[in-house]
Amino acid sequence: MYYTPPIERLIAELARLPGIGPKSAQRLAFHIIKVPLQEAEDLAQAIVEARRKVQFCRRCFNLSEMELCEYCSDSRRDSSLVCVVEEAKDIVAIERTGEFRGLYHVLGGAISPIDGVGPEQLRVNELVSRIKEDKVEEVILATNPSVEGEATALYIANLIRSMGVKATRLASGLPVGGDLEYADEVTLGRALQGRREI
């Protein structure tokens, strides 16, 4: 043991966080020791409060303080339109566009066999039950445009098409402000396939 026990414990706890190695944990621990006591207490309180109060929305599995999240409890939203995302943080990205007025469904990841994640490990069955019960007419598959996200979208599309529900996928193509000469073959190919008349 090189440090006094409370610091050792703090370093050990911080090192358990994702993306934090022993060196980063040590740097963060020393930062916490240096800041005023009130700031350290605020941080500790924020962690405990978030952990205690935040739960999964009963319907869409977004993070929420209430049983139903702010989107599911908003009666002005179109409940026949459901946007399927991988993680709760993706909802924020879509909400920022101001273009979507439907509801969400958070899967909790994407199908990745190499990581042992199959459809059973995601909230796919919950989505299927929701489509049946809530009379959903269209499901927008907004999983990431990665190989795993595409496979997840394919799997869900096959599943819900047999239920007579319209399945759509977010368009993918060239980023706004990018140069065509730097576009990779996969993205450019997609952009060509999904071209539209102007």
Partner: protein, 257 residues
């Protein structure tokens, strides 16, 4: 030379920091490599979809202190069909995982890159039995790392007549005849047709395997056999195995013994 070029098939990636990724890939000349792709998660990244799993690319590396840095990537074959069909994706991921787990970091096994490249190309085309295709690949990879199963004669007595039934003996790396099989040794019983078909898988090219057909229940039994064999010799659990078993048609679904 601080920079070098090599062909690679991308296996998987992990997030690193704010916008980087660590890419695991099988290269043609440097074996299994991990390299850092800086800024790849930004939508304006020059790499775009070039460093996604299944992509066969020509890559320029710059030697780093721990991991090498990927500075350029040019697509040779994106294996697009594997992204557009769920079953092809599922079995393709299993091919990538078994390849990755058969090697240590920077380890090079002759012909493995070629085997993976050919198998991914075959998988993009029509495959009659995905179960047989994956079984053949797993057994062939075991062969390439030095654990080819001995299926032609009994590994104890050497007799090639296995009429009284055969048992796959994992520790022995092959089959044991009914006479030599002690009741308590726990070999996996295999019937004559499964044995014949498994031998055929080892002798055939992946192009030939892609056109082989067999009843689904038999294909499943061979799949379970190859899963048990590969996990035993790679000494690692293969995550994609349980996902594949969960996606088999309900009529032939069975948990491994």
């Amino acid at each position: 030379m601080r920079s070098y070029k090599d062909q690679a098939i991308i296996i998987r990636s992990h997030k690193l920091g704010e916008s980087d990724r660590i890419i695991t890939m099988l290269t043609s000349e440097h074996g299994l490599k991990r390299g850092v792709a800086k800024g790849v998660r930004k939508t304006t990244s020059k790499f775009g979809g070039r460093l996604e799993p299944f992509v066969h690319a020509s890559i320029l590396f710059h030697r780093g202190r721990n991991l090498d840095i990927i500075t350029q990537a040019e697509v040779i074959n994106p294996h697009q069909a594997l992204r557009e069909d769920f079953r092809k994706y599922l079995y393709g991921e299993a091919l990538l995982e078994i390849t990755m787990k058969s090697l240590q970091q920077d380890q090079q096994i002759p012909r493995l890159f070629e085997a993976l490249s050919i198998s991914l190309e075959c998988l993009e085309q029509e495959v009659k039995s995905y179960e047989l295709f994956l079984s053949a690949y797993e057994l062939k990879v075991c062969g390439l790392i030095g654990y080819r199963p001995h299926l032609d004669q009994c590994i104890r007595c050497g007799k090639s007549e296995l009429t009284k039934g055969a048992f796959l003996h994992l520790e022995g790396g092959g089959v044991i005849c009914g006479h030599c099989q002690p009741s308590s040794s726990g070999g996996i019983a295999i019937d004559e047709q499964i044995l014949r078909l498994t031998r055929l898988l080892l002798l055939s090219s992946m192009e030939e395997v892609a056109s082989l057909e067999t009843p689904p229940a038999r294909a499943r039994d061979i799949l379970l056999l190859s899963f048990a064999y590969s996990e035993f010799y790679l000494e690692k659990p293969i995550q994609s195995h349980k996902v594949i078993l969960g996606q088999l048609p309900p009529s032939i679904r069975k948990t491994p013994e």
